[in-house]
Amino acid sequence: MRKILPWLARWEVGLLVVLVLEIFIFGMVNPVFFDLQKLLLTMPDFIYLGIVALPLGMIMMTGGIDLSFGSVASLAAITTGVVFATSKSMVLGILVGLLVGVVCGLVNGVLIVTTKAQPMVLTLGTLFLFAGLALGVSGIGGVSAYEGIGNFPDWFNQIAYGTSLGLPNLLVAFVLASIVFYLLMSKTSFGRQMRLIGANAQTARYAGFSVSRLLITGYAVMGAMAALVGVLLSSYFGSARPDIGATLLLPVLTLVVIGGVSMFGGEGNMIGIVIATLVIGVLQQGVRYAGMNENEVSVVTGSVLVGVSILRWWSGRWSELLRNRRNRRREERATSALAGEPQAVGAGQAEPIAR
């Protein structure tokens, strides 16, 4: 029992309960929701958010943040499109697009490490910079910002639309990315060191590994994943637009926070982000299936996001209060049992509170 209780009090388990409740409630409203096949097929509508949320979670665990990933996705998408339109080679386009993403990430990382400016301000600057460059590239390529570049080869559109092993490709990509990032963050020294940077940057420096190089690598990975999502979205929509990533920021950021990653670094894990992706995606789909239009959906999801974030802090506080009370009771029991032996009181003291 004592083993199970703290496990139940974990945030990820709470999220899982919310997910099950959601599916149950929306299923009552609209039975379509209990149809697993249909549920799986609608997942690409939101699952791409998770693909970029995973690396963002990694960055936030280091105590940093990257606000520019939406612009990086746009820039990568439009670059892919323009290179395809001029060279007629899709493969070259994708490669250049991904490369652009890595370069953007490197720019972020190097600037953050060298200027020691706050990542939030700095990536706010590059948010404008990359979004502007995306518009610039489309301007140079002579594309209208609204239509974008289309007429991609069939196999490219199939990347995001097709299925493999009966699962939508985007879902497969998300599962693969989740596994990779889970292993990276919890089983490799890279992941542990990234986490240490977020928990205590000073200690990390004294621990003798190169904090700068790790951070730059992290931001480069972030850029690469953002570019990947930009390319996948172009495939999904069948056109590469310079504003394709503009709406990514809000859902992805809230997703990471709801997934249990602290804005101050050091806290959180990938499983939380994976569950949070499903929680938010199912919520959006469920509200849509319940017959609401897009604006009502955004009102509902916005409110729920804020509500869940409030729960996130207060639930942590409540579980801490509960733990304190239990410890105090145990201490009292110990002192009353040891009455008459004042030297031994210290043995019954409350254990340090783990956050």
């Binding site: 502007g132 926070v257 604006n295």
Partner: protein, 344 residues
Amino acid sequence: MISRIARHREFVTLVGVVFLLIVVGLFNASFVSPSNLARVLNSAVILFLLAAGEAPVIITRNIDASIGAILVLSGVLGALALRHGVAIPLVILIVAGSAALMGVLNGVFVAYGHVPPIVATLGTLAAFRGVSFLITGGFSIEDIPQNYTRFGSAQVIGVPLLVWVGLALAALLGILMAKTQFGRHFYATGGNPVGARLIGIPVNRMVVTAYAISGLFAGLAALVFMAQFGSVSNQAGVGMELQAIAAAVVGGVSLSGGVGTIFGAIIGAFFITSARSSLSFMGIPGFWSDTAIGVILLIALFADAKVRHALDVRRLEQRYASSGEALSEVGSADVAFDKEEHAR
């Protein structure tokens, strides 16, 4: 002398604005003609109101990403009220009041709900925009009555009336922040929240107030918007929140809290607006304007980092120079060590 100027970051930005005007003016003299400068001022009003409102929030070490949405929602309410023939003073009250209330909502989420500020305000951004869509059904509200829009074209001494009004309101806020005890409490809250609490400042209430001010100024920006454009569309103010934050940062308001002035935020807004409008005078296509903002923001950050570093080194040197006389050799050895430490 230099350190004195450097300590007042807003003057550095002011020098930047003047420099920009001169450079673009040399390139194309019509840019610095009085009529064009008045036009630039006119198009800067909305941004500098938003930036001035954003500053208290950033100074308390938070951020408000919802001001563009507050602008739209309060503007939609105001435009509907005007079209239903509500008296203008009452409309102003409705817009300002509803906007301030939305700000309070943000503040409560952040201060009492403990939601990270950027998440809370991005969430309310989606919610407020959604509500304004629901009210308008996705259509923009046109035909705001003439008796209101005439304020948008009125001029006093060659400068639009709204610029004067906006500057006066921002100046009021600036005085409140700089000269009153209440205003200084915002700085204490952002500079050191725990310390501020210990000396008896109601930290949570200060945060809520800062958000209320930010909301109020977004409402004022909505009033200007209605007068200038004569309509409110659902796309109004998209991306303005990020520009306002950028303007405040360019003007020397630090995102780590406790540093910056309203004046600086306003100058930052002027810098960004004039840089944007200078593009067309330099023959650069308009789609580069976001790139320009990004570059300006990054340059400001770079300059900021360099200036701060230089100031730190200098302060350390001065401190050691004065204590070195008393401590003689021990002190100078310390200085050398500390300099080395600092250089890394």
